[in-house]
Subunit: 352 residues, 4 copies
């Protein structure tokens, strides 16, 4: 049996961190060597997440207590909040240039330093790394991910919208000026941060939009859609909070080009994902449900015709913590470390 | 004190019927004289809906057991399934021409007999009543409702979309060819019919679209939007099932006309509803949540600018069983029987 | 029409405060004159709770800004956190001796100053008021409430357990040493305080016990059960958090005395509540559901026989924010101000 | 690599069947050779459960279409409804005596034919198999399971109650006449059968007891508790339906014997499960939450002292579909086929 690769999870006390532990604990080729969580340092993972009772895991340590050079890790997952991430990864890579990094924050997703500064209101603190980082949408950028030192794992909303739209934009099959993305997310996407707006009583038994017209995920969509279309694309995107733990559904309204029908769009997507293990395109006219990908790394896409001529409705679903975060990060890790891409990710949805 | 009006609820064992009972039981000017429910005939309402334990209500009777002429009711609410409704109301009105009717099914909502036949696949069984029926969207057709013998209570989805869109279409402020309505509904909208798709396990912890591209509510939207716009309007409409009991949120994407801004649309709606008790337009840029109208007859509308030039995003919410069904029906009843329009409907949302 | 009584709600930004506003807004005999909320002072109620959009309500003010003497209120509801309440009410009553008070905190529920000090770890700050305060379990202490200057509204858990158990203890029908109360509560019972444990993700899709063996509500149970039994009673009580907004279910296990059967217990309860409007005893063997009292001031009680000889199982339900808090407080207010006891409280459960 | 064992799942269209597929699909040593589902025969598993899109699985076939002798399966899981199961398994074993069977229905759980007849109202149809069947509570009957031809997988409620209580009864540490089990279950325990009582609207946002005093699971508890205690034991058991998909929490009230303390009970359980992989006893005083075992084969047990002298409160949790059904069945299969007991079952809870 091959030696296990040593990996670290930075920010293990957040939901994304916990999901990484869930996926990596039974992974046959890696060993979780380090778990950091500043405010919970000294505690066991089971104290913070009782589902890990009895598991052989290192204690949580503070980030500053780790000597990256000495640890000589094969790979570090960084699940820290936006902003602090830049300097942490900069320091980590400086100290341990052979440790590869998958970053799950938004910090390295925008390749354009000017776009970053515009959306986030300040200059990037590691601009050279920002340029080097590979956008980790695996089905689209697989080859570059394999060789990357730093992968910027895509956002959960953006993955959901990009999987169906990038092949259609590349094929010039839809009007890039007429894209409307109405996205609905479960609450775990907001993380474990304690806010009134995410109390059970404020989220259950109701639904609402938020960040209407100005959500930061739009920058990421602009980048990838424009790349795919070969021209600037600005889509309409509205996120909603739905009363469920996990899952994102993006209902996408598009206008076809060049007399393409909704069936044509479906055929393009079927072809694009025919050989992909984690992305399923449903039979034409069928729509997916988030519950059927719950807890799994799978995404499902459905395409239907609208009664309005030339308009199609596309529904895409994934689990925001898995394919939308930790699962896709592990998928990248598998590529970067030379494992089978699907290793440790074959679990199907926990439904019901 | 004025004598109480005698009313009947046909189909009291469904959720809409139960909601009518909830609203009418404490209503100061009416008396529930008859409750019908064919399969539950002989039972008390409290046996079917334990929340009515101890309430003074008539026993459930079979529809056929009621002598409409003899009962001489002031008003009957008809909450029966689509299809059977037509003949029931036809017979009722023939037997008791002075009994007024508010029908909560879809049977009398389409004024155009041809449109009805096209959408439902058969000729209407009471075409003369169909033409006479007044579409009961109170804020829009108030005057005609007051005098109506038969009111066709609008659907829950359609009320949610029509309240914000009709004033904008009337004002020629938006492009009628570019309307996208993405609607999310609670499960009570599906009624108490027993279907696998509505089991707790199949609905909770997930979200999905249904009836994509071909939902029957579209016929109603076409009628009212075309009337408002003065030209044929065909909107894109996608319903979704959200894991909650009550509430509809319609997120509506529109393109402004004649250089109108999103703020202009907001101003039009504010003006249109300035004197309405049950429709609140939130300050510009704010979006409503379904939970804040839960169990109430209120609707809330929010308008925000999209970052795409000339595009606005409108969110409208209501409770599908109240303002979207029984509440609006009672609002019509109040008008028809000469009561204050808000009587019995002043309860605010049960939140949390 | 009689002049409206002027009332205040202290602590209007909490869930109990909001529920008081919901119940009192359409109440025909009172006027909400003052709403306090220190951290939200200056805001409108609709900003804090959007369900009150458009309602004629005073702005939120800081507690210190109110001149109790000058306001000469008829009654004040105090929905402030435990601890601060004592001094606030002491000062209020000193300044305005004719203003009556219904306190919804735990501060005045224990008549015994020693018991208070033991359970809360410090001496009571208004011991003379503590002795004067009437425990506001309306169905049990109605006469004393009518004349009280200060009513201590019971806790939600305790009301649920006391309604079925007090009549049985009074009748000496059950063994006071063998009472087990397994209670399940919705999350709104925890208030709007922002805690990790009450995030949607931490509460939904799961259930758990808390405060096992040492919950403060036990002091209240001890007091009322002992009073009813005429001897010291110490019951076993375990609260649980269930993934729902509202509702408490207490499943109570008792051992009958003197060869009483479960049917005998049922008969005792039926008789005890035969004339009560808000407490319904279901037919023998039937059990109530919390959803059938949701948003209402009603409580329901069911009694069933266990297969173990001499053991009975009693289920009691109510809405923790209504009959378990604000509703019962309004019920007391109605008595104190000479209104019909049921005024403003006749709304039936919002179900589904 | 060893050849894969060929297994069948009878009744694959139910939730337990789907859970078996979820667990067995990535299992390294078995191949799902046959999936039966009478009403869905001819469909693919992905049509019935979209989470299996793309998976290599046999089509669903009718039970009668399978030739057991010819298939020569290594093991069959039987997830059919109670009643029909007896004759199906009898026929299967007659045709293929070397095919081992794990039955997930209640049909073979009672070793005593008289008890079976009493609880189910009719004689058992395969009494000789009933006697042979081994009760599949793995941690208690592991040795016999290994050699069994027919394993009767325990019920979900019973597993939850038996895991903590059997070691305490064996140790004579608690009074067998004073056991109260208050159990709360998620809705998936009711299966995919379409009933009004299990509609989303009838289950969400509320909680209630059912089957009070006379639930069939009691027969199983009696059998195992009496076996452990060495004398007849009749416990009080009340099941509740909680608004969640998965999970059972049993809150158990016990009286200690021979001056044992709650800590003593904790020590007994810690010792009993010290070497068990799937059962974790939490530190004294801590209580488990169902969400922390969601989707996993783990169970957690907590013990706390009651303030009533000599009384202890025990909370046990598991996932009703995994450790309470399919997971425990796979655990038995692993033993029966000579695999590592934990194979394919190491996934931790999907939380949040």
């Amino acid at each position: 049996m091959a030696a296990k690769k040593r990996i670290a999870i930075l920010g293990a006390s957040g939901y994304t961190g916990a999901e990484l532990v869930r996926l990596l604990l039974p992974h046959p080729r890696v060993e979780i060597a380090i778990l950091t969580a500043d405010r919970k340092a000294g505690q066991s993972m089971a104290e913070v997440y009782p589902q890990f009772a009895g598991a052989a895991l290192p204690k949580l340590v503070a980030l500053d207590a780790v000597d990256w050079a000495k640890e000589a890790l094969d790979l570090a997952f960084c699940a820290l909040p936006h902003g602090t991430t830049q300097s942490v990864i900069k320091a980590l890579i400086a100290a341990a240039p052979r440790t590869r990094v998958v970053d799950l924050s938004a910090d390295f997703r925008l390749a354009d330093v000017a776009a970053y500064a515009r959306w986030y209101g300040h200059a990037h603190q590691a601009p050279e790394l920002q340029k080097e980082a590979v956008y980790g949408l695996v089905e689209i950028h697989r080859r570059r991910i394999r060789a990357a030192r730093l992968v910027a794992n895509p956002g959960c909303y953006t993955t959901t919208a990009e999987l169906p739209l990038i092949p259609l934009l590349k094929a010039r099959a839809i009007d890039p000026a007429q894209i409307v993305i109405d996205a609905k997310s479960g609450v775990s996407g907001a993380g474990r941060a304690v806010k009134e707006a995410h109390l059970f009583t404020e989220v259950s038994e109701g639904i609402h939009a938020y960040g209407v017209g100005h959500h930061r995920h739009m920058a990421e969509l602009d980048q990838e859609f424009s790349l795919a279309a070969g021209r600037p694309v600005v889509a309409t995107f509205t996120p909603h909070l739905a009363p469920m733990n996990r899952g994102i559904l993006a209902t996408i309204y598009v206008q076809t080009r060049r007399k393409r029908s909704a069936e044509d769009l479906h055929a393009i997507l079927e072809k694009a994902y025919a050989r992909e293990h984690f992305v399923h395109v449903l039979p034409f006219g069928q729509v997916p449900q988030t519950r059927h990908v719950r807890g799994s790394n799978y995404a499902q896409i459905g395409v239907a015709a609208d009664r309005v001529e030339g308009r199609a409705i596309i529904c895409a679903v994934l689990d925001n913590l898995t394919k939308g975060a930790a699962g896709q990060a592990v998928q990248s890790m598998n590529l970067m470390l030379g494992f089978a891409e699907t290793m440790g990710l074959l679990g199907r949805a926990v439904f019901p």
